[in-house]
Symmetry: C5
Subunit: 362 residues, 5 copies
């Protein structure tokens, strides 16, 4: 638990080996974000009103486990396992759930523990400066009348949902905690489209560069985009299965009225996956195009060499002939000698170029 | 809702991120086609006759929801969410249905809402000038005795169906709204074959160009065709699943008599998908052919360089020898010197070319 | 119906767009083979004997629909929809069946209509002159005691079956119409093996050419073979599914005694598909071999250029040195000058070639 | 039946078209091995003892069909259909079984005929001289208390099984004919590992050659190995399905006690298939490595050309300058002229090479 | 049994053919590790305490088969089949189980023998010196109250588990032998992450080298990494299936309380497989990048050749012209001749380079 967290440069995967050998259910935060503080907020609402406040100690949450009103507890910061352990105890979570909440490398998953269901997803953001997708771990525990959400750092795309709860707009206040779970996932998936749009723009830009430019940088960018696509796919594809299981789950926690929304959510993720696959195909087609354009340029350059050597090597040879110092050579002393030779040189060039044109070599 | 719609150049995907953060069921038209007007027409028919008229206000539709005659309401233009919301209210559609009707990026899908079923498909047209496939969003809602169809712009391939209703030809007037749904989808899929034929023609033309021409433009066109194939696949493949679900659906809205037709429709889509896959394979084989022909041309050009340098470099060297200004050199002062040297040069060329021919280098 | 049939050059797909917009069940022959005549023959047999005759009018068939003896009606020529419509009416076929009989682009399929089952397959022949596979549409309708077969042109591989019926050899006369259906499909699949053997021979020939020859024609032929393989797969793979469904079908039309034969037939088609896939893999491996042999030849040619330029460029430079017209230069007036220079040139060549040999460049 | 058998060179597939048009169940041996003789041996054993003898006429086998002791009839040679027909009649085999016994192109399969089950497998041997895998057709029919095995030629890997029967070692004599079937298949699959080990050795050897050698022969060998892998896969993969079906079959002929052994056998085949797939992947990675090493060598050779032409072309040009015959030129008559020029040449070379080294071109 | 074990260099597969022909259930150790000794330790524990000791003879284990306390027998060293046979007899294991314990080439598998279940897995370690993954065979037999583990050599990652048993920390002492089985597998899978992290680091390093360096060694390393990935996949992918079967098994040996942990373990393996696949994709994208960078460098080098030959070949030709020995030539005797020619040469160079720059060749 006391192992130090060293910051690592972003990789497709962070170090996971640090946990090796620890007993199952050990609580270790393997991520590298956020300081040492945990911030817990509570948003309790029903059809008629809502209260919102900060939570200082995990024990304050226990009463809300059984309350009739819907309770949303949001936790920002996963770097203090002690606090989370307290919260887990207060809410009655299995140790394996707590372990997965802290394990930011955990892929999206759904687990039904009877009294509550556990969902892991990834919030994604496109970092324009670095040019890559920045992930944030999101763990959600849905109980009868409560939802607990865990994030790595403060700041999330859930403000519109909070606003709807505060104003009472939309259906959020009228429906149960399962609809809240859906709303959070829906907003998360909406973010994926933003990321996809950014990636799509870069792919389109690159696509138009390939034929006009010849910078070897293009290939490096295609490779970088492919990495991002791989990264995205790793984080999104399992979520499709998660939402599908959630939607068809026979858990009593999921109300019938929420299922059409989950179907809609599933549909959105399918679209995200579709686009990811299309981008992959597109990148692979662009790679072919790029490689063929490199080959074509090689051909063009080679032709220059071919034309110059096939025209000037013979000519230079001819000048060499008449530059030899033989005493007895034809033409040298004739007044028309020079003209004759230059004329034949011109003729040779013309014939050579004609042949090349005819054979379509140039 | 009041967000401005900026026209975008056609991309594999339009911007979807604008919707991010809005509550589920928000009505936003994400497409870029059509002006600000909505045109609704109503075609009510039974075995014995038909009436046809324009609809001014959505409320006029409500009575037809329960009528015994079959009612086909067609809506052209999706840019006025207000009107569509009115229509949705009058016909009793779920908010998620209205959202998907407006979302022109929605992939083909089938959803059974009990009282009605909701189908999304894509109308495709081949734009010969631009050389690409132009899609149009098509949403269909089938109720007991009515069908509501939503399109982005006026102008559709459904005229033959309307003609059959007006003249009473075929089975359309004798069978229910489900047969009308089938008819519209059938016409839509028939259009796919037209698009495929156009693409197929271009692929065949390209195939014949590859070996005869050496334009680098060919590669660009292959890439463009691959994009179109990807685009097509994205729009058609999900429809296969849609029709299959529709066909095996236990919804009371689908009559037994219509199922053989749906089976036939499914079969057509399978054929479309088959052809798309074959085109993909063909393009990939053509790419191999093209790349190998580029390599072969590289070889040809290289051989020219090889022949010229291996023939003339030695010869020029020989002329160089006898162009040196040494005082004491053999042959220079012999009357046969020049002839001897030129003869040996010719001999060298002949031997060199013979070796090349023998080693099959030229 | 009156649309003119223009002959098209053979493509992977014929034009299908002509049918676009026609009502479902419209009878249009989309192929390009055969004249305007239809030839119908009837072969009625039982355990004890057989009768064979031409049919002039479709109505003559009606009585055989219910007869106890087995009736095989064969139709050559699909270009007169009227006649086929008559036959369909007399035998009680669904309009969609007639549509698919005429649609020569229809992929293999199986449909159970209760009273009868409908099977579409493709007869394939290898046209040695053109070097490609020639398909012919085959539609089969199996009823209680009858089988109707539809072909595009006269001439088929079914003569051995007819001979067995006439002579009473084998089981054909003892078993029902389902065994006849099996026999026709079996003969059709046997033809596939002939086609595969032809393709296999060409692939083997090409395989042996790749390393010995360097003709760019090889690549074109590989591409052509790949097209044929694609074409074959398109026509054969769906048939596997057809026969599998037929074999496990619970239709009363398929007798238990026929099922082992259908299992055997299924097994044959699986073998055909196996070979097609192996050919694909083989072609793809041959492509790799070819491309690498092109690269190797590029290397060989390049080495010639490298050797000649690295040997003769320095030598020519040396001759250039002593060809300069400076007044004061060493060696020029020494009697041994020429010998010294020529000796050093020879030394340079030897050292250069030794280095090349040592670095394994040549 | 009387068609002549022409010997063919080994191909991925032998000619199968000869059978085209024959009635189903026609007995034709399509292989090319063995003479005109058939050798039948009988090994009858029980827990207490065994008898072994040659069989002259097929009818001798009939009594063993019902005997309590276990009977193993082995048939070497498939070229006399008459004899096999007799044996098939005596043992009560379906005609399709006999057809598949003779059809050496038959892929591995399992068929349950109620009274007996029919299994086809392939014995494989690695022919070190020819460098390829030699297959032999193996057909097995398992009845209540008997097993009939059919092979193309004499000589098989079953001697250890026979030895165990003769000595009574192991479980073979204690268990039924199904255990004998398992034993034969187990020995057959054990042979596959021998073949895989040979192929694996060749792949390893090739893998180490790729980077050190540059022989174009390597590519040819990789292609040959790929052919062998394809060949192996074609023969082994269907057997996996066969054993799996056999193991889960509800046939009364398979005893419960034998099932763990069949599970083990299945596991072995899965390992064979695993290795085949790994070898494929390995070969494909080796191909990439080879092609990239060819490209690298191309680069190396090109650099030689580049260095020599960029160094000597300018130098030769300079000598050309001072080799011109102008009357008025600078330096020519200066005593230091030659030294100045040669010094500048050396300077040019040094600068040029420094630039190249700095730009990392050489 | 007495066959000698020759040490082999590490290959993707070790020789397996040595076992060919032996009766099923023959005990042969096919690995090449460990000496001739077997070391057996026994760890017997319950909620209240534990005893730990060495076992000299296999028979000592028999009493623990039925004891109420949990017994963990660990066997290091598989090279003495006799001892293992004794142990197998004492514990009542099937002969096929013993065979698979010794067969170190056995892929991961799960088999339910009713009284006990048998699990095979692989312990993996990354050998940094050799740069490859080192596998060790691990066989586990779980009975009612006992677990027997078999390893090839002494030294394992199970020390943390032993420590937890000794100290009574965690749940190990409170739960059954199935939880012990889970704990061992969990530690084994944790090791996989360590291996993946090492491989991941090497892949990242290579990825950054590709664009900056041009060493052909990179390709060799990519190939080596691909081999490791293949090796890993072969050992891990079947384990996913094993744990899934274990988790859903209806064996009475697996307690309900252990199932969530098995679900978690399954989830970990899925992540391992995910990363393996991502690494494969990444390597394949890196290969593309590498090949394209090789092509680009070829182009760069070619351009040098092109520029030098197109600039200096014409110039040298011009010097050749005026180096000819014709008696009557223009300019030679003019005082400005030399300046005129040199000026035109400079002009030609400038024009040439301008053209090249304009056509973007250089």
């Amino acid at each position: 638990m006391s192992r130090k967290q060293r910051p690592t440069r972003r990789a497709l995967y962070r170090q996971r080996s640090e946990k090796s050998g620890l007993p199952p259910g050990s609580l270790v935060y393997v991520g590298d974000r956020g300081g040492s503080s945990v911030r817990m907020t509570l948003l309790d609402y029903s059809d008629t009103g809502y209260t919102e406040r900060l939570i200082a100690a995990p024990d304050e949450c226990a009463p809300f486990r059984q309350s009739q009103s819907i309770t949303w507890i949001n936790v920002d910061g996963l770097s203090v396992p002690k606090t989370l352990e307290g919260l887990g105890g207060a809410m009655g979570f299995h140790n394996l759930v707590l372990e997965d909440i802290l394990n930011t490398e955990q892929r999206p998953k759904f687990e039904d523990y009877g009294d509550y269901v556990f969902v892991v997803a990834k919030m994604l953001e496109f970092n324009t400066d670095a040019g890559h997708v920045k992930p944030e771990h999101l763990a959600l525990v849905l109980g009868r009348n409560f939802l607990v959400s865990f994030q790595e750092v403060a700041g999330d795309p859930f403000e519109p949902v909070r606003a709807r709860i505060r104003t009472g707009a939309g259906k959020t206040r009228k429906l149960g905690a399962d609809y809240l779970l859906y709303s959070l996932l829906d907003v998360t998936v909406d973010q994926y489209f933003v990321v996809l749009d950014r990636l799509g723009e870069r792919i389109e830009q690159l696509d138009q560069l390939i034929l006009s430019s010849e910078s070897p940088r293009i290939m490096g960018e295609m490779h970088a985009l492919k990495r991002e696509i791989l990264f995205l796919r790793k984080n999104v594809v399992p979520l499709r299965e998660v939402v599908n299981t959630l939607r068809h789950s026979d858990s009593a926690l999921i109300d019938e009225a929420t299922r059409p929304f989950l179907r809609d959510l599933h549909d959105h993720i399918v679209q995200v996956v579709d686009r990811i696959e299309t981008y992959r195909d597109l990148l692979s087609s662009m790679l072919d195009l790029y490689l063929s354009s490199v080959s074509n340029r090689t051909n063009t350059v080679l032709k220059i060499v071919a034309v110059f050597s096939s025209v000037f090597l013979p000519l230079t040879f001819m000048t060499g002939i008449f530059g030899m110092n033989f005493e007895f050579m034809p033409l040298l002393h004739s007044p028309k000698g020079f003209v004759v030779i230059v004329t034949s040189m011109v003729a040779i060039v013309v014939v050579m170029l004609a042949i090349f044109r005819w054979r379509r070599w140039i």
